[in-house]
Point group: D2
Chain length 352, copies 4
Amino acid sequence: MVVVMAPEATEADVDAVVSQVETAGGDAFVSRGVNRTIVGLVGDVRQFGALNLRGMRGVSDVLRVSVPYKLVSRENHPNRSVVRVGGVPIGPGTMTLIAGPCAVETPEQTLAAAQMAKAAGATLLRGGAFKPRTSPYAFPGLGEAGLRILADVRAETGLPIVTEVVDAGDVALVASYADMLQIGTRNAQNFTLLQAAGEAGRPVMLKRGMSGTIDEWLMAAEYVAQRGNLDIVLCERGIRTFEKATRNTLDISAVPVAQRLSHLPVIVDPSHSGGRRDLVLPLTRAAIAVGADGVIIDVHPHPETALCDGPQALVDGDLRELAKIVRDLPGIVGRSLTVAEPAPNPAGTVPV
Amino acid sequence: MVVVMAPEATEADVDAVVSQVETAGGDAFVSRGVNRTIVGLVGDVRQFGALNLRGMRGVSDVLRVSVPYKLVSRENHPNRSVVRVGGVPIGPGTMTLIAGPCAVETPEQTLAAAQMAKAAGATLLRGGAFKPRTSPYAFPGLGEAGLRILADVRAETGLPIVTEVVDAGDVALVASYADMLQIGTRNAQNFTLLQAAGEAGRPVMLKRGMSGTIDEWLMAAEYVAQRGNLDIVLCERGIRTFEKATRNTLDISAVPVAQRLSHLPVIVDPSHSGGRRDLVLPLTRAAIAVGADGVIIDVHPHPETALCDGPQALVDGDLRELAKIVRDLPGIVGRSLTVAEPAPNPAGTVPV
Amino acid sequence: MVVVMAPEATEADVDAVVSQVETAGGDAFVSRGVNRTIVGLVGDVRQFGALNLRGMRGVSDVLRVSVPYKLVSRENHPNRSVVRVGGVPIGPGTMTLIAGPCAVETPEQTLAAAQMAKAAGATLLRGGAFKPRTSPYAFPGLGEAGLRILADVRAETGLPIVTEVVDAGDVALVASYADMLQIGTRNAQNFTLLQAAGEAGRPVMLKRGMSGTIDEWLMAAEYVAQRGNLDIVLCERGIRTFEKATRNTLDISAVPVAQRLSHLPVIVDPSHSGGRRDLVLPLTRAAIAVGADGVIIDVHPHPETALCDGPQALVDGDLRELAKIVRDLPGIVGRSLTVAEPAPNPAGTVPV
Amino acid sequence: MVVVMAPEATEADVDAVVSQVETAGGDAFVSRGVNRTIVGLVGDVRQFGALNLRGMRGVSDVLRVSVPYKLVSRENHPNRSVVRVGGVPIGPGTMTLIAGPCAVETPEQTLAAAQMAKAAGATLLRGGAFKPRTSPYAFPGLGEAGLRILADVRAETGLPIVTEVVDAGDVALVASYADMLQIGTRNAQNFTLLQAAGEAGRPVMLKRGMSGTIDEWLMAAEYVAQRGNLDIVLCERGIRTFEKATRNTLDISAVPVAQRLSHLPVIVDPSHSGGRRDLVLPLTRAAIAVGADGVIIDVHPHPETALCDGPQALVDGDLRELAKIVRDLPGIVGRSLTVAEPAPNPAGTVPV
């Protein structure tokens, strides 16, 4: 960290900063300029986190020069990680397609969507049983009944399950069914939930907060990692901006940026980013081309009657095009589409 | 609602929309233009919420013309509400000062801050025992020990307590100590927590999400209200924008806008909006002048050693100026500073 | 357009709206709901533009249901356009690479950059002689001397020139050298400049304003088109958001959205979007994959001494990779890289 | 400035940075940490502006620790300035009301609006003759005919004129009529216009760009100042955010922030910020209370027929309330409403 002193700071103010840093076990280097003095701090960011340097007299700014997350950072873990979900790898070298309905509605709808997903090349099934909805009058999901449907469809299709959990109190229940826990954008800073997910013994897919910086996203991952779980997949799903032509603005640059800062896999959700069916395929192509480790896509057998996010679900004709994209495009960026393999450690049977 | 058909929509597409609306128990009025047909929907927004009109063939857009929240809306409740917290009113006619430390650290620090707050004119004490922190390495609060300190300071000073709850599982515990539950910006769409708070038998202060629209904020309040609790105070605390000179951008216009849309009281947090001590007093003046029903302010006896948000806490000299502002300015907007009165129903003794 | 009346609007208020619309030559359809009445307007948006419906008594909102731009809209011009620049096509079917230095500094640097660009597959040369700089202390460009250098390099390499114009008073001068006029993000709503560019007899590349909506961008294009010039290429270059890891946030979705709304070609600037060299190639791949009609990229023989935007300029090693991308990737989206062909009407010799 | 080296930077990389800085006439102080080395630069920011330190090998970041504007900064000019417009002061101690129609339409409308403005306490008249409009189909203003109307109304009412100029080529013409030149939000980075305004011999009101940071706003002012004109008034008019309940989001904090960074007066435009009549008075109160040096407000005798921004213009009843606010509120912040005084040097008669 670098402490920038105000022009009017006295020698005593500078000395006080140096002394605080040294008391915390760090070293301080003072550079005196014409207008300002700066103090460089050397040591561990965790040491300095408890110091309130910004509150000290004569301090005008405190600039961070290293990352505030350690476990998920690439600084001490240069190789990119592979996260396995029910035996399916997500990470460098492959491009994994996750697909399924936004919300689980009925056994028939879920099975049909899973079969559509599989036919398009998906090796993981998404589907929500607990849905965070902006309006209390919207469909909140089927809860445990939805989890049971997902488990049945997994048995039928062989596709491991990714499903959302919205409250720390539900983590054990959801983890007893799911192969991967999804934490949604509205819970990106629900720290109790992040910690509970870190202790559940399942891989976690962590969506970026809709107004979360990349740093905050990695800090949220650090919360999960701190509880001993490094099987985390980051998911870019669009951020909130002034532009209203799309539901969110897909921050495609966040993929290479996060991959450079963190060793964790980074995937993209083209369905929720745009919120429009006609954008899903172009954004899927962009995601694969930019180097995403996977994409997660809404499909629905009958979008016009979907209880959630129907406007963005892909339908039959689109799926043939999707199958072609995920088959042909990954090769251009040195990857291959992840294909199904027998899970060595079938999920759903592990006690949690 | 208004359904806008695409230029290429057929008569059959229009008929399908009309038929869906009528099946849901509403009425549909069709206006045929040169390029486009629009369908006006008449009925209750809750009827139409389950319809996936956007997903129907030939539909290009669905525009909402009435508000999606009912219980907190002013449409059916034209008079603005007063919420009483441990006997202290927040609402039209008064301007209530809530102050205290960002985080409860020690009994001494909390008592000193409470006395500073009271001397400045505060009638409610704020203080966090459960703190949501962006970094897992930052001080997370004292938990229940902090709640006990707050209760002791309440006994000593007579100031009812406002304190944050961050997880649905903690609501009963926090409600057993607090006079008002605070829901923070990072939990503005933690719907499980909102519902739990709605059932806790305590007034709720609901901060706006840092990227939440005013509509989403009122929808979050609707979640609380739906559980039978209309004692809700909205708190504007700054939104996330491109401008980085301040920690957040105080959306001062949100105060009159929310007061016009909802009957609930609206207060402002000038401390967290700006994140800078030198902005707290100017923003407090702006908040009172714009017509806020209250302000909530960080004070700390020794900000330079504060474990949380020290840079924005007011200190002694500022407090005399604050006292003057809250005494003199409310009169300009036809309000008076709320003064302490004996709580008819002292909090902390009610079984919850 | 749809006029939404307030709940308290009277019959007389509704009649007044209807009468205003009819006076302007349009038709009005009234739908009376339980809480609100809406009035649908039928006619040309240009007729209603002068009406101040929002200002009328009893009106709570006015919603637009068709686009406010006509000449650049795809509604009346369903086929996507090809714009030719010195004989080089930009449009559907092809993917055009435009490359060159951010700023023209010397003849040697410009020629070297042009040769790098050409070797990578570029068929158009970019380079700024008039530079809008945020700081008055930054390098403002060489002005006409820079234009002469560009003309010399065009003669040497055969690459037509794209260069920026920043003031209406300079349009004739710049157009006498340039094959295409570039309007930068800071001038995206400099309407005098847009109109002057529309009259200059040269194709125009119109960058999106850094905080411009897609609608505003197309309205800016409409200003150019209105002066009789439909040879306009839209350029997405990143928008301003809260995320600071990148200089701007590339709005990759804007490409398919703008292509759906307008018949004009849409290209992407990966260099200025990210502002970081390490992001240029990934974002170029994303741009091509999403379906952009071209990309415009900064290259520089010695970025470490560049007078402008050195941190984002590609250098030698990157260019071999770029050449591979623009050769291999367009085929995946049914396009081929634009190749040089003799200009039938060599620019720089046409009187303007 | 502080240069942060990457963890993998070599000694040679550090030496190269030091050598570049010294060649530019500055001094460099090197602090070597465990993970990173930082280099503190001492000297004038203008010296280092031309260095491309970010582009050098081994450099991971360059952090600015002092402001990039000199002439408008408070660092070398601690006392806040007063700008006089036709004899009317804007600055500390006073609160100046500027009011008038958004656009000049007719002599009658302009005179009526000016009389309304004066009755409410205004000492300066606003009114647009050249209007930048998002749509080419909207009313563009009357041009010079509008300026003549303004001059006639000035003669009749004694109110000096503030009016917008949108192109460098019009500056001399507008300056020959106006007492103060207004630069609008869409031209906040039209540097040619800023420079021309700096040479016109008239005070300049500089609106903040709708997506401009406070730093960029002050840099724009520096462009004007550099041409020898320090009579600049900054005007906060709302920024673009995700919130759409208001036309823009008034950044009320920008007033004290800009006043702390710059010695120039800072005023607020409550009309364009909110874009809604019902917000103008609350936002005016907030602006005065936060410490603005003035406010600029749209008034119109018949807003329902206004050719521009009718929905936000104040009408008769509001004006009595406005008069009360500007009379009573400034005293609370130690200011008094600016009152008219004979202009010692009447504008409109000075050759330019």
